[in-house]
Structure formats: structure tokens, C-alpha cells
């Protein structure tokens, strides 16, 4: 049984509300943290080895210590709840069922960073969660966990919820800040980084919902204790939102010690591929990370078992590996067509590109059109090379990571499933009749019987 520290209490009736949450040890971390100095809280987070759960996996403690602290300038903490990555829905789950966990994490983090005004920038589509969060904030405030002079320490903190307006790009931290300031959500050019010049030109830390929620167990159990969970630099637990052709889609909390194979086939987790089909491919970390075929997903290129950790999933670089990303675990069975799948993603990125810098604005649209042609039997063999060339010229040449996010799925699909693209081009009629693609990627490995 995997250790749970975030959503362990989610099944308690009424945990969504303050009284029940408090009865079950809620807000203990605030009491504990307020007895420490803010620098000690940051130190504790550093010791925990917590890495950003939003996708990039940057060490949170390090990010916090980069925060500039000029005299007389306010500092801000912004919670990035603009969870829009296809396949990722862990933050929604956390906010919907454990809103006070996030509020608690925010209070501790605000204290550590000295943020008197903390914002939750939430995805516009999560309309009902805004109500849940605002109710939770009101409850916390009426119980003096927020407002002026919290717990008599003289620390003032307010939390505001700001709704986005439905743009994926506003999940990029600088675009989020622009949007929060009331401007068009275009990513800013870095440097300066938000830690120096963020919200309203003041030092700002932007963290993912799960990252901030994980502060609570870190303070409660101590950073060193938290670091004992997991393997190597992948410490603690990670929420994974599993979806696709699996028996039990949903949000799972794993301590990062299990293998990918166990996660897919274990009864405790995804419960195997639905309808007795075989595993064909998987995107292990949200739509923008490279897709991996079954053989490379379960074992690395070196033949080691691939684990659900930051390092192991990235093993082999992009040639034979992928990324932990935001934890959106999308599983494709043998019946799924990789071309169609890639087209869907390309369409998404084309729709969501902010249009600020030219490679992403023009390249994403171009890739979608070419993929559309291949998918609908009008493609040419040269189109595949062209796609490769386009993605290569988008990647790394854009202002923000959306360009990379749009390029990687296309690159990985061509890298691992080039014959399927070719099959589509060479068999246009058949590819229209049965859109299964090729099935011989089905896993060659025995399944685990847990």
C-alpha cells in the first residue's frame, strides 16, 4: 500500500468543511509554522526536496530562496490553479474535496514568503470550485486563520480567488501574472523572472496547487521525514490523474517508489487496460510530454524497470524517455490511432497558442493542417519530414514553453510511431475505414499480478 500524505483523509465525511477538517488535524501546520521563523519554514521545504508539481519539477525550496526581498516592496504568492493541460485533473480533485488543505498550505507558504496578499488564479472552467474555495476562505477567516494578526503573530494575510477566462496559456506563470493584472494573457519575456519582478513588478512566487498543498505534510512531519518518501531526488508523493483506456481512471496519490508497470496494472491503481486490450502507448505526464510506446514505457532503453519518478521517466532524454510533467497519465490501448491522437493535441495547441511569437503562432497551425491531411488520407510521405522540420524549428525558439509543449508530442509521435504515419499515407482508404492505426506495439511484457 502506497503511502498517502495529501489525500489520505479525503474519504472522511464533511472534510470539505472547516469543522471536520479541523477535527482531523487541519491547520496544525499553521500553528507549527508560526512558531518557526519564515526562513526556517523555507529551510524545511528545502530539506524536503519538494519539486514543483506543475510540470517543470523545479525544486520548490530553491524557487522560494530566489525570491528577492527588497525593502518596502510587497511580495506576492500566487497559486497557479489554472490547470488546463489535457489529461490533468489532479488539482481540481484536490481543490474540490480538500479545499482547506490548499488554504492551509497557502497560509504557511505566505508566512514563509512574507506575502500579505495571496492569490489563487483558477481556471475559468472550474466555476463551481471557485465557490468551494471562497467558502473555505470565508470559513478560515471567521476562525481567524486569515486576516489581520493571525494567531497573534502580527502576520496579516488575505487570500483572493481570481478566475481565469479560459486560456491554457494563462497557466504559464508570467502569462498568469499578466492576466492577474488585468491584461491580455501573453507570457512575458524572461528575464526578469517573477522572483524579481512579478505581479505588479513586485517579487512573486508562483506555485502549483499540489505543490502548495504538499507544504502542509512537510511542515507537519518535518522536511527530512518527507524526503524519506520516494527515491532519490523524487521525494514525497505525487498526485497522478490517470485517464484513457484503463479500468479505473481517476486521481491516485503515489509515493514515488512504484514502477510504471505497477501503476498501470496494479489493482490499487489503474487496474490494467480496459476491455482486455493491450497497452500500446502512454503519455505519462500530461499532453505536452513525449508519448512513449509500451516497450519503452515499461523498461528504459537500458533495460531497467521504469519507475514513477522524475528521473526514471526522463531516463533516456527525449529519444527514449519522457517526463513526469504535471502527472496527467494518458493511456492508449491497441485500438487507438496515434496519428489521430497527435492531431487532437496539435489542434489543441494551435487553439491555445497566444499568438505572440511567430514560430508558435504560425507553426502550430501549420502542423495541425498537415496532420489533418495525413489523418484524412490526403497526406504525402514528405509531409512527415516536413512535420519533423516544423516541430524542430518551433522547439526552443519561442518565448514560453508552449512552443515546446506543442512540438514535443508531434516529435515523439513521429519518433516512435513513424510507420503508423506512413501507413496512413500509404493506405488512405483503409485508414478511413478503420481508424485503429497499427497494433503491433502492444506490450511484449508480462503483466504484474499484484
Amino acid at each position: 500500500m502506497s503511502r498517502k500524505v495529501l489525500i489520505d483523509k479525503v474519504n472522511i465525511e464533511g472534510i470539505r468543511f472547516y469543522d471536520e477538517y479541523r477535527k482531523n488535524g487541519g491547520y496544525a501546520s499553521v500553528e507549527k509554522a508560526f512558531k518557526m521563523s519564515p526562513a526556517d519554514v523555507v529551510e524545511e521545504v528545502k530539506k524536503s526536496g519538494l519539486r514543483g508539481r506543475g510540470g517543470a519539477g523545479f525544486p520548490t525550496g530553491m524557487k522560494w530562496s530566489f525570491l528577492a526581498k527588497p525593502e518596502g516592496v510587497p511580495r506576492y504568492l500566487v497559486c497557479n490553479a489554472d490547470e488546463s493541460e489535457p489529461g490533468t485533473f489532479k488539482d481540481r480533485y484536490l481543490m474540490e474535496f480538500l479545499p482547506h488543505l490548499l488554504i492551509e498550505g497557502l497560509i504557511v507558504s505566505s508566512y514563509a514568503l512574507g506575502s500579505g496578499r495571496t492569490y489563487i488564479y483558477i481556471r475559468g472552467e472550474y466555476a463551481w470550485i471557485v465557490d468551494i474555495l471562497e467558502k473555505a476562505i470565508a470559513e478560515a477567516k471567521s476562525n481567524n486563520w486569515l486576516g489581520k494578526n493571525i494567531l497573534g503573530t502580527g502576520f496579516d494575510c488575505e487570500i483572493y480567488v481570481q478566475r481565469g477566462a479560459g486560456a491554457y496559456i494563462c497557466g504559464e506563470e508570467t502569462a498568469l501574472l499578466e492576466s492577474l493584472e488585468g491584461k491580455r494573457g501573453n507570457p512575458r519575456i524572461k528575464p526578469p523572472f517573477p522572483a524579481v519582478k512579478g505581479l505588479w513588478d513586485c517579487p512573486t512566487v508562483v506555485n502549483n496547487v499540489e505543490t502548495l498543498a504538499a507544504i502542509v505534510p512537510i511542515i507537519n512531519m518535518g522536511g527530512e521525514e518527507y524526503a524519506k518518501i520516494g527515491i532519490g531526488k523524487s521525494t514525497g508523493t505525487k498526485l497522478l490523474s490517470a485517464c484513457g483506456n484503463i479500468n479505473k481512471p481517476g486521481v491516485y496519490e503515489i509515493d514515488m517508489t512504484i514502477s510504471v508497470e505497477e501503476f498501470i496494472y496494479g489493482d490499487e491503481y489503474c487496474g490494467g487496460i480496459a476491455n482486455g486490450k493491450k497497452l500500446k502507448a502512454c503519455i505519462p505526464g500530461g499532453s505536452s510530454v513525449p508519448i512513449l510506446p509500451a516497450n519503452l514505457l515499461l523498461k528504459t532503453a537500458k533495460g531497467e524497470t521504469r519507475m514513477m519518478t522524475y528521473e526514471s521517466l526522463a531516463d533516456g532524454g527525449f529519444a527514449t524517455g519522457s517526463m513526469m510533467g504535471s502527472g496527467g497519465f494518458i493511456v492508449l490501448d491497441e485500438d487507438q490511432c496515434v496519428v489521430r491522437h497527435t492531431l487532437t493535441l496539435a489542434r489543441f495547441y494551435r487553439h491555445e497558442s497566444c499568438g505572440q511569437c511567430s514560430p508558435c503562432r504560425e507553426g502550430t497551425g501549420w502542423m495541425e493542417k498537415i496532420l489533418q491531411n495525413i489523418e484524412y488520407g490526403k497526406g504525402k510521405l514528405t509531409d512527415i519530414d516536413l512535420l519533423w522540420d516544423i516541430q524542430r524549428r518551433i522547439e526552443g525558439n519561442t518565448i514560453c514553453p508552449l512552443g515546446d509543449a506543442a512540438a514535443w508530442p508531434v516529435a515523439a509521435a513521429i519518433r516512435h510511431f513513424r510507420d503508423e504515419f506512413e501507413w496512413h499515407v500509404l493506405n488512405p482508404d483503409e485508414s478511413q475505414r478503420r481508424n485503429y492505426g497499427l497494433a503491433h506495439y502492444a506490450d511484449p511484457l508480462q503483466t504484474v499480478t499484484a
Binding site: R350, S358, T364, I399
Partner: protein, 365 residues
Amino acid sequence: MADEKKIFKVTIDNITIEVEAGTSILQAARSIGGDVVPPAMCYYSKLQGSGGKCRTCLVEVTAGSTADPRPMPKLVASCRTNVMEGMVVKSITSERVIDARNGVVEFLLINHPLDCPICDQAGECHLQDLSYEHGKEGTRYEFQRRTFEKHDLGPYIQLHMTRCILCYRCVFVADQLTEKREHGVLDRGDHSEIATYIEKALHNDFIGNVIDVCPVGALTDRTFRFKNRVWFLKPMDAHRDCPKCSGKVTLWNRGDEVYRVTARKNQWGEVEEWICNDCRFQKKKTSDWIIEGPTVVSRHSVISQGHYVGTVNPKEFLPAVMGGRNPRLLMDIHTVSEVNDPEIQLSKIEGPATSDVFGEEEKQE
């Protein structure tokens, strides 16, 4: 001493120069001049916050600074990256940069209409220059291009979004030169457009400057549109006593007639001093201006071709010469080329004369 600016040594394409701290790589390269200067479609030194968007000015930084000589992993936008002491930059000496630049040019051109012959900006278009330098002769884009309706933004400015490359310069002009910006970017991605919401005219004494900053033919002067080609005009520096602006302009004349008035531009195509709408659109008589002399135009610019010296206008119009006949073709191609079939009456062919037409005729025979 405290006021003295720090001087940084920076090497661009093996040329080492000294520039003040806080200079961007692009500006440092411009102080060297020549081929090492990265092209810039969106950056405008006089507009704060501009740059970083078009990605044509990408350069490779092979050593960040003396203190931290690690290379930067990604190509960086030279217009928005400041130099550091001991920085080593590769512009045209880097294959990666050239490849990325070619890629950006291709991206910029896939949705840009390639109809320079009928575009008012031709001859002074930065995208045209860029694609001559870095573009390919053919396109790999096989789809319909993005098009928009033309919009008149008031009596003086026309917006044709089809040509726009979304450099945001006009947005920055309105932000920084006028009190209230009335246009901006609507939508996102490849369907985003510059627009006034919904149909508004741009009213401001300085809004005419958006025409000058537009690198392509998206924003054009309605008082000049299609009146003439820029290379037929002779630019002349002139000034007047203007209560609103410096009054220092370039007049674009043909004969004695002033066709248009623009601000003076430097060698990077950037306006030297902003001018007001009165100077730009109202004062179109030579007598309004004190002429200083011809504008120095780069010898390689197409505009410098427009110095027609000693040309003589024909005394009578062409039909008079041709005995009353108004010719459809100025040259009788039958006499020039053996390739064309003299049997076929070109004027009777529907549509353009392509090889198919000639082929069909042969089959019938």
C-alpha cells in the same frame, strides 16, 4: 565615479567591442554594423517593451559572461537580452542561428500574402528584405492563407490584417505616444488580429506614427495608398515650424508634388523623431515646408533607384502615337519569342495563357 556607466566587453561573431552595461545584444551588434546585425521585425529601440516576439533576432550565446562562461542552452532573442562582461555571441557564424532564422522567416511567410507587386509597402518592407536574405524561393505551405477584410481606422489609416505579422509595435506606439490606446490585439493564436473593438477610428494627433513603425504593409497611409510606388518618389528632408511636434520629416516627391510625408528614419528603419498627424496628412504642399536637401538613402535600397535624372515625358499619350489604337500588350511577343505559337490569338484565350492552353491547341490540330 558612481555615475559612470560600467563598460562591458562583448564579442559578437569574433568582433570584440565595448558597450555600456544594460545594452542589448542587438544594439551592441548594431554598433558593429554590417552583416552581424540580427534582423529585427518587432523590436523598436524607441518603443519600451517592444521586441522578443518575432524571433528573427535569435542569436547563440556561447559564453554567458566571464563570471559564468557557460553557454546558454537555447537561442536567445538578442533584442531583449542584455550583454554581460565577456559574453561571446554568435550570430551569422552559427549554423543553429541561421537555421532558426530561416525557420522564423518561413513561419512569418506562411500566412503572409506574397503579393508584393500589389502591396503598398513594397520597396520599404522589412519582411520583404528579410525574406530576400533568408527566405527560400519556394514555399512548403500548401494550404489556404489566413485572410481578413480591410478596415479603415479613421480617415487616414487603413488596416489590412492579412499582411500583419503581429509585432505589436503599433500597440506600443498607441500606449506610449497617446493618452488612450484604442486598438489592440483580439483573439489569440494564428487567428489573433489587431483591431479596434468593434469598429472605431483612431483619433490622436500622433497615431499616424503607427504607419511608420509597421514593418509590413498592414497599416498604410490612406492619403497615399496606391498613389505611387516608393521607388518612383524622391525623398527629401524638410522641416516646418510645427506647434505639436519637431516638424522634422521626409517628403516623398515626384516632380514638384508631395505624395506623402513620413518621419525621418535611420539606417535601421526606425523613426528618428515622431511626427504629428498634421504634418503627416495635412501639409502636402512644397510651400508648407522648408526643404533641407535629399535624404540619404542606402545605395542598395530600391528607393535609391528612383533618382530619375534627365528623363523626358513624352509629349503625346500612347494612343496618339499608335494612331488612335489603345494597345492591350505593349510588346508584340510573337516577334520576340519563337516559343509562343503565332497561330494562337492571345487575346482570345480565357484566363491566363498557360502551357495547357497551348498544348490543347496542338492536340486539336
